[in-house]
Structures are given as C-alpha cells and as structure tokens.
C-alpha cells in the first residue's frame, strides 16, 4: 500500500469534481425543466399530447444511460451539422434521459395535490398556466422534494458514465492517474470514499426532509 499516490495527485483528481458538480447541476436543471413539460403532457387529457409524452418517457426509461450518451454522441452532430464535442453531446444526453425520470417524479407530485384546489382556482377565474404556476407547482414541489434529492444523488453518481466519451470528470481523472501510477487499490478506494461521503450527506439530507414532511403532516 502506498497512499502517497493520492496526496501527490489530490489536486488533479479533486479538480475533476468541479466538472462532476457542473454536470450534475446542468442535468438536474435541464432535466427538471423538460420534465415539467413532459409531466404536464402525461397528465393531459388530450390524446395527441398524452401519447407522445408517454412514449418518450417509457422509451428513455427502458434505456441504459451509458447507451444514450453514446447514441447522442453520434446523433447530435447529424442534427446540428457540425461536431459538438463530448461535453455538449453528453449534457444533451443527460437532459433528455433525466427528463423522463423527473417527469414521473413531478407527475407524482402534481397528482398529490387535491383536485378541489384546482377547481377552486378555476372557479376564481385563473387560467391554466397561472393555476400551474401559483397553485399546483408550489405544493407539488414540497411533496416531491425528497424524491428529487434522491434523484440528484443518482445523477451525481451517473456523471461518472461520461467516462465512456472521455470527459475528464472525477472518475476519469482517477482512472488516468491509475494508468500512469498503477495503484488501483488505493486510487479506487479513494474514489469510492469521495463518492460515498458526498452521497451519504445527500441522502441524510433527503431523510431529514422526509421526516420534516411527515412531522408537519401529523
């Protein structure tokens, strides 16, 4: 065992965490934004809205993320007309993929809002978007907060998959150090500990929110 390899390369490896967090944030916000619209589509009574939205969600939920990253790496340049680079195509893949998961979380949150509230809002003369914005979504967001944080942790872990297209996030950098130093045991233990600590903190926070919500209900 030679733990010096970690202290020597600490700066380089932890530098990758910046990209990891950046990717998590983009995937989270982009996915939630697109997911909101998908969720509304899934709740729509219009068939031509409901079916495409459902097909989208079911399709992406049946795919491995690593394949979606690959797929958009090849597909995106065809649509855009020029090479996009690994970062942008990966982020597009993340947003498209995560939107399908967020839409289901958001749909669950929206369905947890009592129908009477929407009816009351309609009775006061509010329009569809105003009702969503001021009545439904604020309450739904509170109900789905624990699920959203759990998903954020999963995304944080999944950013490591960008490895396959060569993005230098945290795990890729650990891997690069390993190819140079051949110290697999120490390096992957270190990576595991870093991910474990961050994800555990996140899930403790989700548990805390869940308990608070239960307490406010009781």
């Amino acid at each position: 065992m030679d733990w010096a390899v970690i202290t020597d390369n600490m700066g380089y490896m932890l530098g990758g965490l910046g990209l990891t967090f950046q990717m998590t944030l983009i995937a989270l916000s982009g996915g939630m934004f697109l997911g909101c619209f998908l969720a509304m589509g899934r709740l729509s009574s219009k068939k031509w809205v409901y079916y495409p939205a459902s097909a989208y969600v079911h399709f992406f939920r049946s795919q491995p993320l690593i394949l979606v990253i690959f797929w958009l790496y090849f597909l995106a340049p065809v649509f855009v007309g020029r090479p996009l680079g690994a970062f942008y195509s990966t982020m597009i893949a993340f947003v498209f993929f995560e939107a399908s998961y967020f839409s289901e979380i958001i749909r669950g949150g929206i369905q947890s809002v009592p129908k009477g509230q929407v009816m009351a809002a309609q009775a006061t003369g509010l329009g569809f978007f105003t009702i969503q914005r001021y009545v439904v979504l604020p309450q739904a967001l509170g109900n789905m907060a624990p699920a959203l944080i759990t998903r954020a942790i999963v995304i944080f872990q999944d950013t490591s998959l960008a490895y396959v297209v060569g993005l230098r996030e945290f795990l890729r950098r650990v891997n690069l150090v390993d190819t140079r130093e051949v110290r697999s045991v120490e390096l992957y233990c270190f990576a595991a500990v870093v991910y474990f600590v961050i994800c555990t903190l996140g899930s403790l926070f989700a548990d805390h929110l869940e308990r608070k919500r239960e307490a406010s209900k009781a």
Binding site: F59, S62, Q63, P64, L65, I66, L67, V68, F70, W71, Y73, F74, L75, P77, V78, F79, V80, G81, R82, I153, Q157, D158, S160, L161, Y163, V164, L171, N175, D178, S184, V185, Y188, C189, A191, A192, Y195, F196, C199, T200, S203
Partner: protein, 240 residues
Amino acid sequence: MLDYNFEWSILWSQTYGPWLLKGIWTTIHLSLLAWVIGSMLGLMVALARLAPYRVVRFAGGAYVQVFRNIPLLVQMFFWYFAVPALLPREMGRWLNHEVPHLGYYCGVVCLGTYTASRVAEVIRSGFLAVPKGVTMAALATGLSPWNTYRHVTIPYALRISMPLLSNEILSCFKNSALTMTIGVMETTGMAGLIDSFTFHGLETTTAASLVYLAITLCVVAAFARVEKKMRIPGLMERSN
C-alpha cells in the same frame, strides 16, 4: 443537417451481424446470472436488516449503504482492477493472465452484489408491509416462529414486492451495459466496437437501443403474467 451516409445493412452484414447477436446474447446471460446472485444475496441482506440481533442488522444496513452510495462504475473498476491486486501475488497473476474473460466474471459479481443492495431494500419494504395480524394469526394456529417465517411471512412479503422487483430486474439489464467499460462485449460494447471498425456508430447504437426496448417489453409482459398469478387475492391491484 450534416451529410451522413446511413448504411443500415451493416447490422445484418456477414461480419457484423453475428457480432451484434453475440452481444445481445451476452447481455442476456450476464444479466440473468447477476440477477440470480442479486436476488438471493438481496433476500439474505433483507432478512439480515430485519434480524433480531443488532450486529446483524447493522451489517445488513452497512451493506446497503455502501453499495448504493458508490457509483456502479467505480465498483466495476474496483472489482476488475483493484481486487486482483489485493489478492496474494500468485493468485492475482493467475487471475490476470490465465483466466479468460476475467471482465465477464467481474461484471457478473459486481452487478450481482450491486443489484442485491437494491433488491434488499425492495424486499425489506415488502416485509414491513406484511400486516401484523397475518403473522399473529399464523402463530395463533400453532406454527412455530420459524415455520411462520418460512411459510407465511416470506412468501407474503415476496408476493407483495413483485411489482417493484420487476423494476429491479429491468435495472439489472440496463446496468449490464456498464460492463463494457471493463471489456465485456455485450450489446452496448458491441455497438461501440462495430463503430470503431465501420464509423457507423449511429446505426449500431440505434439498433442497441431497440434491443434494450425489446428486452424491457419482454420483461414487462412476462412479469404482468407472473404478477397476476402471484397476486394476493383481496389486495389492491397495481394502479398503473
């Protein structure tokens, strides 16, 4: 739009068609093997988490926490790169040089142990959802605690966790794609490999995604039948 020469015939060409089929077959048996490990180990971890001994409960909880909070890809690398280095020198060398398809076995074990941590949570929630009255009634009829567990509680818990277990089996299939990073040529890996020979990655990845879609549809259809059979009469049906 960029000019892109679609050549779908690559998928059934003499060289690459069999490759793709081989990849699909690898995905199927790798995932099923991992599922066997994952469901057995998962049941044991779930039972450990509900055991009357504090140490056993803690060990079960620690297992779930560790495997859930470390990305699967890190676990893959750990099993593939670090475990042979951790073993005694001779054994590590033997693993690295003499064992064919080491990545495959590492992938199965890694995916199995990871799936176990998720299955354990599903089964545990199934156990917690068994009504107390059922267990009490079984004890009242004179069944011993062990027989109550074996013939009443465990089957009941497994039957109500069925719908969620089907999600985990689907995740197992999807997660098997990660074994491509340790050199296993399953569907996704094969799609990448054919791309590196032909530069027609778009066709191959599209084909791969249709394969996963087909696998999902098959598993969903199969589980719909299983769930119908295993449904406990008198309980609510799955809503969606």
